[in-house]
């Protein structure tokens, strides 16, 4: 493999890393080749001693994508970070994807419950207040005295639960990032020792 081939392969393998970071990574290897050539080494020889671009790319990608997820909070970024971590090996498939699915499951369940409570509150309230006006056939097994406060209470509770779940989701996001960071350290050290 010559210089051009090495850089092309590496660049292809890290194409989803942010442009700035990618340039920075490639710059280091370009410089390495340049100085090596100045010292009278051959391109093929330098490429061989650098090792497999795949190994280099895996190590660079995972940490870059995680850094990005930390900077800008988005579902897309965290998903990419999770999958980059999962891509580092079978071991990670278990210890990253498992907890990730668990957390997402909890969040979906909480959002659904909070949403359902809110809807039921609104339904009770409207059923009681507007139902009789339009002569809807709404059956509410309470007197208006009970059902109006009940409706307001349920709606408030549901909205509070929605807000609570939102904060919990943010907390999970941070938790996820710290976990992936620790994981990345362990994985890269493990890989270096292999």
């Amino acid at each position: 493999m010559n210089k051009k081939e090495f850089l092309r392969r590496l660049s292809e393998l890290i194409k989803d890393v942010p442009e700035e970071e990618k340039k920075d990574i490639l710059f280091d290897y370009e410089e390495h080749f340049r100085i090596g050539l100045e010292k009278g080494r051959k391109e093929e020889e330098i490429a061989a001693s650098l090792g497999d671009p795949k190994v280099i790319a895996k190590q660079s990608r995972a940490s870059c994508i995680l850094k990005e997820a930390e900077k800008t909070t988005s579902v897309n970024n965290i998903m990419r970070a999770i999958f980059a971590a999962v891509g580092l090996g079978f071991f990670n498939l278990v210890i990253v994807l498992g907890p990730a699915i668990g957390l997402i499951g909890i969040l979906v369940a909480l959002f659904a419950s909070a949403f359902a409570i809110t809807v039921s509150g609104v339904a009770v309230l409207f059923g009681t207040l507007i139902g009789p006006v339009f002569a809807w056939n709404v059956y509410i097994p309470f007197a208006a005295v009970v059902s109006i406060p009940l409706g307001i209470g349920l709606t408030t509770l549901g909205l509070l639960a929605l807000i609570g779940t939102f904060y919990l989701a943010k907390f999970f996001y941070k938790l996820c990032i710290s976990y992936l960071k620790i994981n990345l350290q362990i994985i890269t050290n493990r890989r270096n020792r292999e």
Partner: protein
């Protein structure tokens, strides 16, 4: 020397090298790979990690032979980390040595 030993202490070697002198990437890789045979490419991701952990900083400097080169310099935090890792390493080596000598006597 066993390959697993070599790669495990790569971080310590890089920090220790930079503790002695400021280096550009090629120089660092070259010197380390002279004493420890590793795939040289893996030192660069390590350097990027050390930079993001603020253990080293980089700057560009002109060279006589051509375009500017990227130099790596240890930060105060890096200096502390180097000392800490070195201490751990020597304690570890001493303990293993003692253990190995002890088991020879007992044979």
């Amino acid at each position: 020397m066993n390959i697993q030993f070599k790669k495990g202490v790569l971080e310590l070697c890089v920090l220790s090298m930079l503790e002695r002198q400021v280096c550009y990437g090629y120089e660092l890789v070259n010197k380390i790979s002279k004493s420890i045979s590793i795939s040289e490419g893996t030192i660069y991701p390590l350097l990027r990690r050390l930079k993001s952990e603020e253990l080293v900083t980089t700057y560009l400097q002109e060279s006589q032979e051509g375009p500017p080169r990227k130099y790596y310099k240890l930060t105060e935090l890096g200096r502390k980390k180097e000392e800490e890792l070195k201490k751990e390493w020597f304690t570890f080596v001493k303990d293993v040595n003692n253990f190995l000598k002890g088991s020879e006597k007992n044979e």
